[in-house]
Subunit: 345 residues, 4 copies
Amino acid sequence: MKLSVVGASGYVGGELLRLLLLHPRVEVQQATSESQAGKLVAGVHPNLRKLTTLRFCSLDELEPCDVLFSALPHGHFMSRFDQLRSIAPRIVDLSADFRFRSAEAYTQWYGHEHTKPEALGRFVYGIPELHREEIRNASHVTGAGCLATTAILGLMPLFAAGLVRDNEVFIEAKVGSSAAGNAASLATHHPERSGAVRSFQPTGHRHTGEIIQELSFHGTPRVHFSATAIELVRGVHVTAHLFLREDLDEKGLWNVYRRAYGAEPFIRIVKEAKGVYRYPEPKILIGSNYCDVSFEKDARSGRVVVMAALDNLMKGAAGNGVQAMNLMAGWDERLGLEFPGLHPV
Amino acid sequence: MKLSVVGASGYVGGELLRLLLLHPRVEVQQATSESQAGKLVAGVHPNLRKLTTLRFCSLDELEPCDVLFSALPHGHFMSRFDQLRSIAPRIVDLSADFRFRSAEAYTQWYGHEHTKPEALGRFVYGIPELHREEIRNASHVTGAGCLATTAILGLMPLFAAGLVRDNEVFIEAKVGSSAAGNAASLATHHPERSGAVRSFQPTGHRHTGEIIQELSFHGTPRVHFSATAIELVRGVHVTAHLFLREDLDEKGLWNVYRRAYGAEPFIRIVKEAKGVYRYPEPKILIGSNYCDVSFEKDARSGRVVVMAALDNLMKGAAGNGVQAMNLMAGWDERLGLEFPGLHPV
Amino acid sequence: MKLSVVGASGYVGGELLRLLLLHPRVEVQQATSESQAGKLVAGVHPNLRKLTTLRFCSLDELEPCDVLFSALPHGHFMSRFDQLRSIAPRIVDLSADFRFRSAEAYTQWYGHEHTKPEALGRFVYGIPELHREEIRNASHVTGAGCLATTAILGLMPLFAAGLVRDNEVFIEAKVGSSAAGNAASLATHHPERSGAVRSFQPTGHRHTGEIIQELSFHGTPRVHFSATAIELVRGVHVTAHLFLREDLDEKGLWNVYRRAYGAEPFIRIVKEAKGVYRYPEPKILIGSNYCDVSFEKDARSGRVVVMAALDNLMKGAAGNGVQAMNLMAGWDERLGLEFPGLHPV
Amino acid sequence: MKLSVVGASGYVGGELLRLLLLHPRVEVQQATSESQAGKLVAGVHPNLRKLTTLRFCSLDELEPCDVLFSALPHGHFMSRFDQLRSIAPRIVDLSADFRFRSAEAYTQWYGHEHTKPEALGRFVYGIPELHREEIRNASHVTGAGCLATTAILGLMPLFAAGLVRDNEVFIEAKVGSSAAGNAASLATHHPERSGAVRSFQPTGHRHTGEIIQELSFHGTPRVHFSATAIELVRGVHVTAHLFLREDLDEKGLWNVYRRAYGAEPFIRIVKEAKGVYRYPEPKILIGSNYCDVSFEKDARSGRVVVMAALDNLMKGAAGNGVQAMNLMAGWDERLGLEFPGLHPV
């Protein structure tokens, strides 16, 4: 199967190339970058040295292929959509351009009108743990926000089971610097960003909209979300607080999570009585496609704390996209995603 | 004024020595450490080389002094209390042993009986921003938990003004490795601790009890607290979520915070429209005694997000203790605490 | 092919298990740990959760297998050698116990007598780039020190070609915290080790002996070596300074390095005129088996600066061991070592 | 005494302001920045919030003062020199513009002609440990390169005593990200710079020229210098290798260093038999004006390894400049430089 990656010079694009160049069933045909066209892919992604001699080409040089991955910036994919869908019958788009099912959500969370509202219905929100069957049958799949994916995967079992009191949850996501992409600025300048604990979006974060959309199993949930940048390159960690509608103990919660995730290849329920890694932690997920999830019930108040972690460039972007492609192609969804993460790291 | 520091080989003890050795009005008489007795203070705290030739002595060698600082581990101060109060008329204890006003709170949060309940009333909870006048008149002052201090200082203006709906707040505190002290373990071994985002206490953290005690302006608040260790050596950052009882806009919130903190020498309200450091961030507070606080109101839901940051060894421990001592002595409370923090760092 | 790993609870043991559990041609039969016997492997190496349900056993429970990997601490392998060689016909030992070819070297560098000098000749120093044919035919292979491997691979082309003036070189190796193993101490306690630049062995480092042994192509070289711990978990970086015996320009040096390494699967000559990653850098090698090498000639003085980098747990230990095993088994030496490293990370 | 800082929006400028605003004998009159003119100083240097309400002005608005500090970029000070010397009778320039005593050195190390060669003789190379008396009597003092300062202070005792064989030394300097200033680029973008070990200048570093100039006690030394960026924000660490002309043991070396530095307020000889901080380490120097130096003799070969560390923005720039100013003013040179550094940090 031949595939190409558009927008391949960014961090998500580079991660896609790493996964696809080593994937046993696909061949990478082209990688586009307007700013790097003509240059060696390995000159931009130095970890790919010796793995490929591919050079970036321009979008205008794209040739037909079986699957097209897009890692274009938000807004750019939308404006190229008609061109790109003529290139390949199947598209996995990792931008935010088709994540929402309603055009109104774009107005609300992105502050502008969607320019292709008629195409919103074509795309499946590509988290396999929520939409596996739709993805299998889809020709167009969209990725998901990395913070949203972490929160959604952590909370889905409780919301799907209708267990959340008032349908309400308070979430803080902590995230590494790679999630903001490869554009240098004063805020990402190493002396400023190093050791930061930066409330970059205490309210109003766009991923809130995705969390609301995907957790609307029993009406629209009340999602209170804050995002904080911390000292990490890769990684997202979410802590969420909620109450239950009924009196479930920890064993009952175990059952809810096992029922939801027991058969999932990339979800691990991490909850141990002792040891260093008792709960989800992003550092051991670097490079892996796992999302680790956990929960703890506060004996004093009944509050349930949900925790989840993943690598924003993997399960939060490129890895999740490859998992979706595997499903679309009818393959084992783990293909090319075997790397389990490192310890120590 | 002569003072001594007991338990001076730990991180809080070292920080106390650094501050007191350079304090213009005091003289450090003795520094105790049972494990390091006889050794040079600067051998344990290498930043004090050239500043002092003091050696640690044993607790049993303590001589009378004007003020005694204790940085003994929790439980140890309590058991030595009768001995120590005979050494000095004034004591600043930075352990948790006398932070609660009720013995029941120790049973609830520490899981054991307090062995000196009759002395609980002697101590003032030593956060000057809440108890300045009591501290001025006190002979015994206790420190405050570093996570508790951050949360309390961030939230006090709203709770004191009775503005918090249902008296309820959800808090996540993120904290660096130095807060756990200088005892090495696998969990703090650099390859394991580096880059961690570790939910070490999702529920049941002992500082919750302090937050409840100090925010009980209008009845007992419902405090939902989680603690997460992140990649930092020094620093605490708190994100808290709550709703208001009445419809205050951001300008109204500014007024509440300015009224509470406008005259405070060590509180800064940090809330800027642009720039890298728009909200409180612990990295620029390393070594300083500031606590930076902020807030943001969610236009969509009315949720108020409160943020606060400090250096756990300074405003979260030793610095706050020196500020309290300055008040007890009748001096300018800023004495010896002028270091403003670094940028970049 | 069945294999077992002894000393599998340490960092090198864990990395061996990660590689071998995913290796397409081998089956992991047993993993020993005296301290963790009976416990789940994934409880100690949390990145292996969901990958294996293996439990550690004791050395005394070892059953016969085809290849035995040992990651026992220095000295322990030697004392168990007779037992272990009866378990498996082929052994890859990653301790230092059989790295030197002469017993005298142990006295000199380790300060004690070797207790099995008669077995020293059985082992091949297992760096494939230097001893490929011997490894193919060997039944016993020893690993190499991680700092030594980096220095040797960086410098080998020049020493092998007899190009180094006075056979003399000055080397500083910088290394991450994982190279010191998983035993916690004050020196590795996160608040102390974080951000360190620590000259832990300015002179007398044991790996010097290995470098001397392996670079003795034209007589015994004069190796001046210093080791410095820096803020990294994984990674070694070497900077070395030497002069040439003859007047070779940079193009000539390129030829020397290409001749030595042009066909090597795990060596990359990294030397670019511009860009961020112009020279070897350990961060993009985390988890990979590459050693990146480079050189630059000082136009003013003729000094040649050699640079090299690798992941101490991979090409510096477990990865190199698996590469050697692949050779011993007659397989493609890249099997199971395809992970190319990450960017960014 | 009134003073102004030109080029005050950069990292060195910010550090100067921090020191001078708290200095007991001076008053900061103006701070210039062409890019930030009109804006609050504390908006750019957030650690100065609450400490000053000063705003940046333009160079053209400069008013006469007693001492002018310049932290303008290299080349800019030179071109403004005539204007600036009319503003203040005393100038401390922290750029490289007047560090060399000969114009030829600029051609050699900076690759361009010096445009004010006639003024080179006016400036004293401002390291007090080498030029204290000249600084006391100088009206114009230049700062020193941060890497050069570290190497010079580490090596001076041996070169001054004529003890270095062949007058030859091999040096590797490791440095944090703040030394490159506050201009963001891909190389300093956090995901790329974090965890780096980057040979940014293996040969040809400009500071080599300063080291040569200042160590020319007994003829021109042969200085072989390489510079490597590592994971630090603040800090320089140097490892240098040399041989002695005569057979001095470690006790003899102690005497040489004590003779040179025994009375120096900001040099500490750090050489301990055990403990974590046995040699100089930059992390405990953050914010302090100390330069820690050490040495170790290789028992096997006679090689002497010299180590030195400092904070590049302090003893490597602003702190050293304030020390020089104190001397020029006839004050205790420690004024305003009392902060001893932190532990842990």
